[in-house]
Amino acid sequence: MALPRSMIFLLLFLLLLFVLCFASESIGYEPQEEEEFSEELLLKPLPDRKVLAHFHFQTRVPPTETYGPHHRLFPKAIYQLVQKFQIREMELSFTQGRWNYERWGGYDPISSNNAKPPGVELWAVFDVPQDQVDASWKNLSHTLSGMFCASINFLESSTAYSAPDWGVRQFSSNMRYGTLPREAVCTENLTPWLKLLPCRDKAGLSMLMDRPSIYRGFYHSQRLRLTSTKFDSTGLNKGIELEQTLTIVLQPSTPGNSMAYSSGSILQPSWSLSSLFGRKVGGKCVLAKSSNVYLQLEGSVISELNNLQKENESYDTDNLAFEGSSSVRGFELSVSPDRVIKELSSLGKEHPSILYEFLMENYTDSKPFDFGLTWKLPVVWSCPQAPLHASRFLMGSGNERGAIAISLKPTKQNEGFQTADINEDMCSLQVDVFQVVPWYVKVYYHTLQVFVDGQAQSVADVIKKMRVSPSEDKVSPGVMEMVLKLPCGVKSAALTLEFDKGFLHIDEYPPDANQGFDIPSAVVSFPEFQASANFLEDASSNKSPLLCKLQEKSPVLSYTEVLLVPLTTPDFSMPYNVITITCTVFALYFGSMLNVLRRRAAEEERLLKRKAAKKNGRFPLLLSKLYAKLRGRQWEPPQSSSSSSQSSSSSSSSSLVSSKLLIKVVLVAGVAAGWQYYFG
C-alpha cells in the first residue's frame, strides 16, 4: 500500500521539476517578458528645514496569456485580486498628517501624485459590466480590509462611496471612489504593504524603514497603485503593474545652536540617511532590477545658491576651492553621485532642477551606503506651487444650518504666469472641483454662489459644466463635480453652498459622536497644468521607473482640508431618562384611557349615592378591617342600612381605632429612631 503512494509522490516531484525547468526555459527564451522589480528612493530638501523621502517600488508582471499564472516576484495576493475583481486600475492610500501645499509645493509630480487626504482613500476602475461594479467594489473593499488590517470595509456601504464621472479623472466610467478621513494609520498597515515586496524590509532600500523614525515624521503616506492592461479593450496588453510608494516628510534633528549668519538667516540643517532613519542601506535587494537613490534639488535652490555664490565671490574671491561635481557649491555631498541628471528648462522656470543619482549596486553590508548632505551657505527658497491655492472651511454656527465654502487664492508662483498672459482677452483658467458630502449634511445645491474678486457672479458665467447627484437619506452621499472657468488674473474666488444638518437615528451615531462628523476632502485639479518633469535623458536604455513616473503627464491635483461638522447628538449617557419618561407617558396614557373606557356614568352615580348614604369612607373601612385582623376577630362588614346613628357609631369607632393605631405607629417610630441614634 505504501509503494503506490510514494510512487505518486515521486511522479508529482518529477512533474514539478519538469514544470520548473520548462518555466525557466521559457523565461530564458523571452528575455523581455520578464517579471521586474525595482526599488528607488528620492530625497529632497524642503524649504522649511524638512526633508522629503519618497520610496518607490515597482513590480511588473507580463500578461498571463504569454507568461502563465505562476510568479516569482509578483505578490500572489494582488494577482488574485486583479483576477477576481477584474480591476483595471486601483489606488489605495493611507495617510497621516497633511501635505503642506504652501511650503512643500503643489506643482511638481511628487506632490500632485502623492499628496493624499488624511486617512484612507481608495478608488478603483473595474472592467466589468455596469451593473456588477457595485458588487465588485463591495467585495474589493472587504478583501482590502482584510489584507491591510484597516477598516476599509466601511466603504462598502453605499453612503460611503460615490461614482464620479469626470471629477477625479477624465473619462472614468465604472469608477468608484471612497474615503475614510478618520482612519488611523499605523505600522499594522505598513507591515502587509511591505509583505508585497520581494525583499520585505530585510534587504535593499526598504531596510531604511525604521518604524519609529518614519512614523515620527510630519507627513506619512503609503500608497499602492495597481494598473492592469489585461482587460484592456485596445488589445495592448502589458500585464499588471504594481506601484508602491511611501512618502514621508521628516525633520532632521538639528544641533543645539545653529550658526546664525550676519543677515539673520540660519543654515538649513544638514542630514544623512543614518540621521534621518537611524539606519543605512546595506546594498540592493538582490531581486531588484534597479536600485537607486536620488537627491533632487529644486531649480530655485540652485538659482538661490548661484546668487549667493556670486555675492560671496564679489568680496571674497580667494575662496575658489571647488567641491562637488556640479557648478554649485553651496552644499556638500558625502558621497559623490554616479550620475547627474538635469531637468529640461521649462518655460516659467529660471533654473532647472538637478537630480543626483546613486547606484546601490556598488554597496554591500560591509560597505553600507550612508549618504549625507551638508549645507555650506544659508539658503531660503520656495517650492513651485499650484496655480491656485484651495482651502475649504465651514461657515455659520449653531446646530441647525451652515455653509461650506471653497476659496481659491492665487499663489505667488502663479502671479508671474498670469501677468504674462494677461494681454490675451480670453485667457481663462480651468479648475475642476469634485466634492462628496455625506447624506447627514444636507447640501442645497441651488444655493451655490460664486464670488470672483469679491463680486458675486452668476453661476452660468463661471461654471462651464456641472454634475450634481443630491444625497439620498441613508442611501447615498451627495456628489458634486464641476468645471470652473476663471479669468487668469483672478485675485480670489469662492464657492459657497448652504446646508442643513440632519438628524441621525440613535444607532447610526458612530462612537465618539460628540466629536462631530467629517466631510471628506474635496479634490481640486487644474487640467490645463501638467505636473511633469522633463529630464535630459542620456542614451542609457534602462530607464528608471521612478523617473518615468516623474515624466508622466498628469494634471496638477490638490486636496482640501477635511471638515468637521458638529451635529446635534442625543445624550447617550442617559438612556434611563428616556426609558423612564416613555414609561411614564405610557402609564399615564393607558391609565387614563382604561379609566375612561371602564367608567359607566349611571353605575357610578348610583354607587356614589350609596356611598354618600353610608357616609363611610374607604379608609375607615380599611382601618377597621386591619384592626379586626390585629385583634384576631372575624371582621364584620358594617351594615348597609342608611340609619345615621349606626354610621356615626361606626365612624366614631373607626376614629378610635385610628388614634390607637397612630399611637402605636409613633411608638414604633420612636423605638426605631432611638435604635438608629444609639446603635446606628
Binding site: G97, A405, L564, T569, A612
Partner: protein, 712 residues
C-alpha cells in the same frame, strides 16, 4: 339633613389635593416663599465639590515640558515689547509679534477689522450675530490689526483647533499685557516643537485699542461668517493701502511669510484668554482669577474650569479665585445665618456622623459672596471678558487673569512666566487630549468657589419653591371672586330658580376677561417702552439722568394715552356693583401673567428669573388695595399696607438698582443716572435681562401699583 343636600360626586384625590391647596393658598404661599428664600441661602451648603467628568482630559498626567530656555526667550520678547517706543500707531507692535511668530515657525497672518459698535436692533434681538451690518462712515484710523499665528499639528488632520487669545492695547502696551504676550509666546515656542499635538493651535494677539471684546468678536465673525463680496471689504482694502506701513516680512529661517490672507484652522474646541493683571493690588501669592460668564448667563463647560483649577492649584501652586461680592464678606446677618447653619450641622452630625451637613461660618460667607456674584453676573447677561464672544459660536472659553506678586526682581519675572506658561501648556495638553468636544460635564451651574458648584438640579428647587405659590394664589383669588359673586347673587335672587341663575353666573364668570384686557394693555405698553430707549439714545448730548427722566415721562404719557384709547372699559366695570371684587380678578390675572413670564425667563436666563422672582413674587402676592386696608383699621391690615408700600417702592427698578448698589458699594456714590447707564449697557450687549426688566418686571410693578391704588 343628608337627604336635603344635593348629592355631589366626590372628586378624585388629586383634584381634592388641588382644592385643598387652593383653599389654603395663603399658608402655602407663606411657606413656599420662605422655603424658597431659605433654599437659596442654603445653596452654598448644598454645593458639591467639582470633579473632572471627562476621562479623556487627564489633567496633569504628564510632566510640563516648558523649559527655562523657552521662558528666557519669552522674556527677551517681553523686553523687546516694553522697549518699543509708544509711537501712537499700532503697526510697530503687531509687526513685532508677527515677526516673532514667524520665527517660531508658525503660519502668520494679519487680520484687519473695523470694530463693530454694539447696537441694539429691536427686530434682530434673538437672531445670531449678523455679518451684514457694518457702518459705512468709518475712518481708516479706527481699524485694528489682530495678529494671528497658527501652528499646524504635525500629525493631526487639522479638523479641530484650540485658540489662545492675548488682548493687548496696541497704542500703549501695559506691562501686564506684555507679560501675557510673553506667556503665550513661551507656550507657542514649545508647541512648535512638540510631537503630541493633535489639534491646531491658534494664537490670536488681539488688538484691544477698541476694546478687548470687539477685536475678538470681529475675528470670530470673520472666521465663521466671512463676507465674500460687498462694500465692507472694499472699504477695508482702501484703508489698507493707506496704512501699508508694515512690510509683509519673509522669515529668513523657514521662508514662511506673513500674509494678509485670512487663515483658518478647523472647528474650535476651546479657547483660553490669557491676561496678566497690572499688579496694582498687593497679593502674597500668584493669583489666578477665572472669568467664565458669557452673554445671557451662558457658561462654558464646567470641565474646562475644573481643569484650569486643578492644574493651577495642584500643578503650579497658584491661588485660584472667582469673582465675589467682597461687601458681603463682613455682613452681620450672613454671619448669623452661617452660625445657625453650622450649629445645625453640628447637631445633625451628632445624631448621625454620616450626615455631612453644614460648613464653617467663614466658608459659608465666602461661598455666599461668590454665589451672589455668580448669580448677578449670569443674570446681567453681559459677558465678563473677551471669552464671551466665543460662546456665541458654541465654543467653550474662559478668561484667565493672573496677578503676579509685585516685585522688581528679574528672576521673579522668569519664574512667573514659567508658571503661567506651564499652566497654559497643561490646559492645552488636556484639551488636546479630548477626542470629542466638551459635553460630559455641566453647562448650567453656579460657582460657590473655584472648586465647588451648585448644579441646575439643586438651584432649580429655590426657584420652583418661589414660583409655586403664584398659580395657587391666582386660582384661589379667581375662585374666591366667583364664589362671592354667586353667593351675593344667591342673596339677591333667593327665590329665583336655577334656570334663571345659570346664565347670570356664566355672564359673571366672564368678568376676568376685562381684567385680562387690562393686563394685556399694560403688556403692550411695556413693549412700547422697551423700544423707547433706542430712540432716546439717538438724542445727542443727553445726560443719563435726563434720559431716564425722558424715558419715565414718555412711558407715563404712553400709559395714559393707551388707557384713554383702549382702556375705557376699565371704568365701565368699576361702576357696576361687582367692582369690589374687580381688583381680585385683576390680581389673579397679573399673577398668572407673572408666573408664565417668570417660567419663560427661567429657560432663557435662569439667574435673571431667580433674582426677578425674589422681587416680583412677594410684591404680587401681597398686593391689596390700600383703601381697602385702611378701611379695616386693624393693626394687621395697617402692617400689610405698610409692607405693600415698601415692596412697591423696592420693586420699582431704579429704586431696586439704587438700593442694591448702595448696599454693596455704599450710598455715597449712588446716582440715579447710573440706572440708565446700566440699562443702556444691557441693551447694548443684547442681554435678555433688558427684555425681562422692561417687558415683565415693569408691567408687573405697574399692575401691582394699580391694584394698590384701586378704589373699592
Amino acid at each position: 339633613m343628608v337627604e336635603s343636600e344635593p348629592l355631589k360626586p366626590k372628586p378624585r384625590p388629586i383634584v381634592r389635593i388641588g382644592i385643598f391647596l387652593i383653599s389654603h393658598s395663603l399658608l402655602v404661599s407663606v411657606v413656599c416663599c420662605t422655603a424658597g428664600v431659605l433654599a437659596l441661602l442654603l445653596l452654598p451648603v448644598l454645593a458639591k465639590n467639582t470633579y473632572i467628568s471627562e476621562n479623556a482630559l487627564v489633567p496633569g498626567s504628564s510632566h510640563p515640558m516648558l523649559t527655562s530656555q523657552d521662558v528666557s526667550e519669552a522674556n527677551k520678547f517681553v523686553r523687546e515689547i516694553n522697549n518699543l517706543k509708544p509711537t501712537g500707531t499700532s503697526i510697530g507692535i503687531s509687526g513685532l509679534i508677527a515677526q516673532h511668530m514667524v520665527d517660531l515657525g508658525a503660519e502668520v497672518c494679519y487680520h484687519k477689522f473695523h470694530p463693530q459698535l454694539n447696537k441694539f436692533h429691536p427686530l434682530q434681538f434673538f437672531s445670531g450675530p449678523d455679518s451684514g451690518i457694518i457702518q459705512e462712515n468709518c475712518s481708516c484710523s479706527s481699524y485694528g490689526i489682530n495678529t494671528v499665528g497658527i501652528i499646524r499639528a504635525p500629525r493631526g488632520d487639522g479638523k479641530e483647533a484650540i485658540v489662545l487669545v492675548t488682548p493687548y492695547n496696541s497704542v500703549n502696551v501695559s506691562p501686564g499685557e506684555a507679560l501675557s504676550l510673553g506667556i503665550a509666546s513661551s507656550v507657542f515656542s514649545l508647541l512648535t516643537r512638540v510631537t503630541w499635538l493633535a489639534k491646531d493651535i491658534i494664537w490670536l494677539a488681539a488688538d484691544s485699542q477698541h476694546g478687548e471684546y470687539a477685536s475678538v468678536a470681529a475675528w470670530l465673525r470673520d472666521y465663521h461668517t466671512p463676507l465674500f463680496g460687498g462694500l465692507a471689504k472694499l472699504n477695508a482694502e482702501m484703508c489698507h493701502e493707506s496704512i501699508m506701513l508694515y512690510e509683509l516680512k519673509k522669515s529668513l529661517v523657514t521662508g514662511a511669510e506673513v500674509s494678509d490672507v485670512f487663515r483658518r484652522a478647523g472647528t474650535m474646541a476651546a479657547a483660553l484668554v490669557i491676561k496678566v493683571a497690572n499688579g496694582n493690588e498687593e497679593v502674597e501669592k500668584d493669583t489666578l482669577s477665572i472669568y467664565a460668564e458669557a452673554s445671557n448667563g451662558q457658561m462654558p463647560n464646567l470641565d474646562l474650569i475644573n481643569v484650569v483649577n486643578y492644574l493651577a492649584v495642584h500643578g503650579q501652586g497658584l491661588r485660584v479665585k472667582v469673582e465675589k461680592f467682597s461687601s458681603l464678606l463682613d455682613s452681620k446677618w450672613l454671619r448669623v445665618l452661617g452660625e445657625t447653619f453650622e450649629s445645625l450641622g453640628k447637631v445633625a452630625r451628632s445624631l448621625n456622623p454620616q450626615w455631612k451637613f453644614g460648613m464653617p461660618v467663614a466658608d459659608y460667607i465666602e461661598g455666599t459672596a461668590t454665589l451672589a456674584s455668580s448669580l448677578y453676573h449670569q443674570a446681567l447677561g453681559v459677558p465678563t471678558g473677551p471669552h464671551g464672544a466665543f460662546r456665541d459660536y458654541q465654543v467653550d472659553a474662559i478668561t484667565l487673569e493672573i496677578a503676579p506678586i509685585v516685585s522688581s526682581n528679574k528672576g521673579r519675572q522668569n519664574e512667573f512666566l514659567l508658571r503661567g506658561g506651564r499652566l497654559v501648556e497643561g490646559v492645552l495638553r488636556s484639551v488636546n487630549n479630548l477626542l470629542e468636544k466638551f459635553h460630559q460635564s455641566f453647562f448650567l451651574y453656579l460657582l460657590t468657589s473655584p472648586s465647588k458648584f451648585v448644579s441646575v438640579g439643586v438651584y432649580m428647587i429655590a426657584f420652583a419653591l418661589l414660583v409655586a405659590p403664584l398659580p395657587l394664589a391666582a386660582a384661589s383669588l379667581y375662585s374666591d371672586a366667583n364664589k362671592v359673586d354667586s353667593s351675593s347673587e344667591k342673596d339677591t335672587f333667593t327665590s329665583s330658580s336655577a334656570s334663571v341663575n345659570i346664565p347670570a353666573i356664566t355672564f359673571k364668570s366672564w368678568n376676568w376677561l376685562h381684567a385680562a384686557k387690562a393686563v394685556f394693555i399694560v403688556h403692550i405698553w411695556s413693549v412700547i417702552i422697551t423700544l423707547l430707549p433706542y430712540f432716546i439714545g439717538q438724542i445727542p448730548n443727553c445726560t443719563p439722568t435726563n434720559s431716564l427722566l425722558i424715558w419715565v415721562l414718555l412711558s407715563v404719557f404712553c400709559l395714559l394715552a393707551l388707557r384713554m384709547t383702549l382702556g375705557s372699559s376699565f371704568s365701565i366695570i368699576s361702576v357696576s356693583q361687582l367692582q369690589k371684587k374687580e381688583w381680585a380678578l385683576l390680581k389673579s390675572v397679573t399673577i398668572s401673567a407673572a408666573f408664565v413670564s417668570l417660567c419663560l425667563m427661567s429657560v432663557i436666563n435662569f439667574a435673571t428669573a431667580e433674582i426677578g422672582a425674589l422681587l416680583i413674587v412677594p410684591m404680587c402676592l401681597m398686593a391689596t388695595p390700600l383703601r381697602f386696608e385702611l378701611k379695616a383699621r386693624s393693626l394687621r391690615s395697617i402692617t400689610r399696607a405698610a409692607c405693600n408700600l415698601v415692596l412697591a417702592f423696592i420693586g420699582f427698578p431704579p429704586n431696586a438698582y439704587v438700593i442694591s448698589k448702595g448696599l454693596f458699594e455704599g450710598f455715597g456714590s449712588v446716582n440715579v443716572g447710573d440706572f440708565w447707564n446700566w440699562l443702556d449697557s444691557l441693551r447694548a450687549w443684547n442681554s435678555a435681562t433688558y427684555l425681562y426688566v422692561c417687558m415683565v418686571h415693569i408691567p408687573c410693578w405697574v399692575l401691582c401699583v394699580y391694584i394698590l391704588l384701586h378704589h373699592c
